[in-house]
């Protein structure tokens, strides 16, 4: 071995040079082959296709969309649908997860076991199978629109989806929004004021009750002052289908149900391990201070449990967003289904489209992990 190779620094530099040469060489090899193959097959390159007409329709779109719209519009619709289903998925999975997680810790043996059975069942079945089961079995066997399950003439459950009333916001609805914001700000201020007063004088103030009252009363007052601008449009059966109101398609519902139920198992486990990770001594100390069980939970256990539970819960939210891409199997028009699916088949520009799709998900992941880092930094135990 020549002498200079015995120097660790030089060896390190050498290794890196070799890596770079291999890596760049590999990239070059791939790029050359790809360029050649693309030319051979007559596939177009570049991002001009984004401005070309898509030529197909999308079954559900939050923004106006026609077959004359461009592929860029397809991308936007896909992303919006991904975000919509993810948002509701996050809401429902959090609710179910919270309930199941608390049940899992319940001293009641029966409830405890039911929660455990729920977790072990749904966590261990692939989420794609659950999506297909909801879509092909549960929702497909619901009654037809003619014989729909009718809940108080407002919600209709059929094999073509769920039909619900839709709220129409007329003139003056902005007053309700403003009232809501004012109420939230007032609660924040109230909370601070009450805490300062308690620190100074020891007197307590019923912040929670006042807050709830404010949150309900202010928007209600605004609603009345503005002259009841919000009206509900109810779905009505016309011929073979319902008109008016809000429609939730079976594709959306199957995806939403499966994702919520599946992700809820992981959220429940995260909540349970968070609460269980609080040392027993903390609870005993709280008891010896004379705190009631509810106050123990609120003031001692939860603040410590949240620090442990929230990061993994946020990770599960991210998983849910990524899993929403499985809609490709049932055709809910989200990013992967219509952009990386239909648009890709129409244009044949797989490389560009998949790159855009991946970068979009990457951006979402990045934003979520930024939130996570911010949370971790905020929640870090402050040692003095």
């Amino acid at each position: 071995m020549p002498a200079f190779l015995r120097n660790e620094k030089i060896r390190g530099i050498l290794y890196q040079i070799i890596t770079i040469v291999l890596f760049v060489g590999f990239l070059f090899y791939i790029a050359q082959n790809t360029a050649h193959n693309i030319e051979q097959r007559g596939i177009k390159t570049g991002f001009a296709f984004l401005h070309a007409t898509a030529g197909f329709d999308i079954t559900e779109s939050p923004i106006p969309f026609t077959p004359a719209s461009t592929h860029w519009e397809v991308f936007k619709v896909g992303l919006l649908n991904t975000l919509i289903v993810s948002f509701w998925g996050i809401v429902f999975s959090s609710l179910i997860g919270l309930v199941i997680g608390v049940w899992r810790l319940s001293p009641n043996w029966l409830i405890n076991r039911i929660a455990a059975a729920y977790i072990e069942t749904f966590r261990n079945i692939p989420v794609l199978l659950q999506i297909l089961f909801w879509y092909n079995v549960v929702l497909a066997t619901l009654p037809s629109t003619r014989h729909s399950i009718n809940l108080f003439d407002t919600v209709f459950i059929t094999n073509r989806g769920f039909f619900m009333p839709e709220f129409v916001f007329g003139d003056g609805s902005w007053m309700i929004g403003v009232a809501l914001i004012v109420a939230v700000l007032a609660i924040v201020w109230l909370h601070r004021w009450a805490k300062r007063r308690q620190d100074l004088t020891g007197e307590q103030f019923p912040v929670f009750l006042t807050g709830v009252t404010l949150l309900i009363a202010l928007p209600l007052l605004a609603y009345l002052i503005a002259g009841k601008p919000v009206t509900a449009v109810y779905p009505e059966l016309h011929g073979f289908n319902f008109k008016g109101g809000k429609t939730f398609t079976p594709e959306f519902l199957a995806l939403l149900f499966a994702l919520s139920i599946y992700t809820a198992t992981f959220i429940a486990e995260a909540i349970r391990s968070g609460i269980e990770a609080v040392p027993k001594g903390q609870k005993e100390a709280a008891t010896s201070l004379g705190l009631s069980p509810l106050k123990q939970l609120r003031l001692v256990v939860l603040p410590q449990a949240v620090r442990i539970a929230i990061p993994s819960v946020i990770n599960q939210y991210l998983n849910l967003i990524k899993n929403s891409s499985l809609a490709a199997a049932i055709g809910y028009p989200e990013l992967v289904t219509i952009f990386a699916g239909t648009s890709l088949n129409q244009t044949g520009q797989a490389l560009e489209i998949l790159l855009i799709t991946m970068l979009t998900y990457l951006l979402i992941s990045l934003i979520v992990s930024l939130i996570l880092n911010w949370f971790n930094a905020k929640m870090k135990i402050k040692e003095r």
Partner: protein
């Protein structure tokens, strides 16, 4: 002298012992608790009896055709008749002894490993040799075995092939990536970090699309991967990033003294890592690794979207048979049950390991 034998202790009151006490403490300790118990019973009443009725009491087990399913319950005749499809896909009927003998060989090896103590020394050799044996048996083309194209593989067989190849291959790649991420060399480190974070930020389905649509463009004409190979590449490269993160978390649990001690012994980088650091890091992180492998096993079901006929895809295939239309409920329940058995036993195994590793630390 008078003898005063001690009286036997009085038994606790009836309400405080045995099953009665257990019920009182665990189900009826407070009004709140009683309400919960009633809620629990209601849930059980709504879920268990209908399911038992459908799956067992009203179900049909005997017969060979759809006409034999007369009851209102499940038609297990369908699953029975299509069992070979669910397990082996389109594998030729007269060649089924081949996958069966591979599975028998796996079971025999596992049993041997438990009872023959010397076998552990050949572990690495087996891990290398067994896949070769399995491939020759399944794919054929050698030793007079007729060729069975991978497009004929399907069902549970394909799921297990994808899962095991994914696990075996993603492990070394994951280790290399984790080492790269720990490395002091900035270029190697940043390449590893970029790869790991990129892959972890995108859904598996996009990686699979990439592997199935774009990968063929990367290589010169004439180099053809079959569909299965492309899916395997996609899954392996995807899971490797997750394995790497698991192993990195193992690295973080190794005290600095271990590195210094290895350095002091004059071990080279690779000796230090292979003999001192990695064995400990992997041991610490085994429960996490099993968790990753469980999700890999569940993720194998995604290959159906790129057109492979894995266990889940077999539900569509079998229930689209004209003689068996409308049997997808049975199919899904059966397939869910098989997936569940595998993943649940893996998670039980990881829990047991976790407990075992915990006692080692004297906790």
């Amino acid at each position: 002298m008078a003898v005063y034998p001690p009286k036997p202790a009085k038994e606790p009151p009836l309400l405080e012992r045995g099953p009665i006490a257990w019920v009182r403490h665990n189900l009826l300790s407070s009004p709140f608790n009683i309400a919960f118990t009633i809620l629990g019973l209601a849930i059980l009443y709504w879920t268990i009896p209908p399911f038992v009725k459908w799956a067992f009491l009203d179900a049909n087990f005997a017969g060979h055709t759809k006409a034999d399913c007369t009851g209102n319950g499940a038609c297990w005749v369908f699953v029975k008749e299509k069992l070979n499809m669910f397990f082996f896909g389109f594998y030729p009927q007269d060649q089924l002894w081949r996958p069966k003998s591979v599975i028998a060989a796996i079971l025999a090896l596992v049993a041997f490993a438990k009872f023959v103590p010397g076998l552990h020394r050949f572990k690495l050799l087996l891990i290398v040799l067994f896949p070769v044996f399995a491939f020759i048996m399944l794919h054929g083309g050698y030793f007079g075995l007729p060729l069975v194209e991978t497009s004929k593989w399907g069902g549970l067989l394909l799921t297990l092939v994808i899962a095991s190849v994914g696990i075996i291959l993603s492990f070394p790649i994951g280790i290399l990536l984790a080492l790269g991420r720990q490395s002091k060399l900035p270029i190697i480190k940043s390449l590893s970090v970029f790869y790991i974070e990129f892959v972890r930020g995108v859904p598996l389905i996009t990686v699979l699309f990439m592997a199935s649509v774009v990968l063929p463009l990367f290589f010169p004409e004439g180099v053809n991967f079959d569909k299965l190979a492309r899916a395997l590449i996609g899954i392996t490269l995807f899971e490797a990033a997750y394995v790497a993160e698991n192993i990195r978390s193992g690295f973080q649990a190794i005290p600095k003294g271990q590195y210094e001690a290895a350095d002091a012994l004059g071990l080279s980088y690779w000796q230090k890592m292979a003999l001192v650091i990695l064995p400990q890091a992997i041991k610490v992180t085994i429960p996490n690794l099993v968790g990753t492998f469980i999700s890999l096993f569940k993720d194998t079901s995604l290959v159906m979207i790129i057109g492979l006929f894995d266990l889940l895809a077999m539900v569509n295939v079998t229930s689209n048979d004209r003689d068996w239309l409308g049997m997808d409920t049975e199919g899904y329940v059966f397939v869910a049950f098989i997936f569940w058995i595998f993943t649940f036993s893996m998670s039980m195994y990881s829990k047991r390991l976790e407990r075992k590793l915990n006692t080692d630390k004297g906790k």
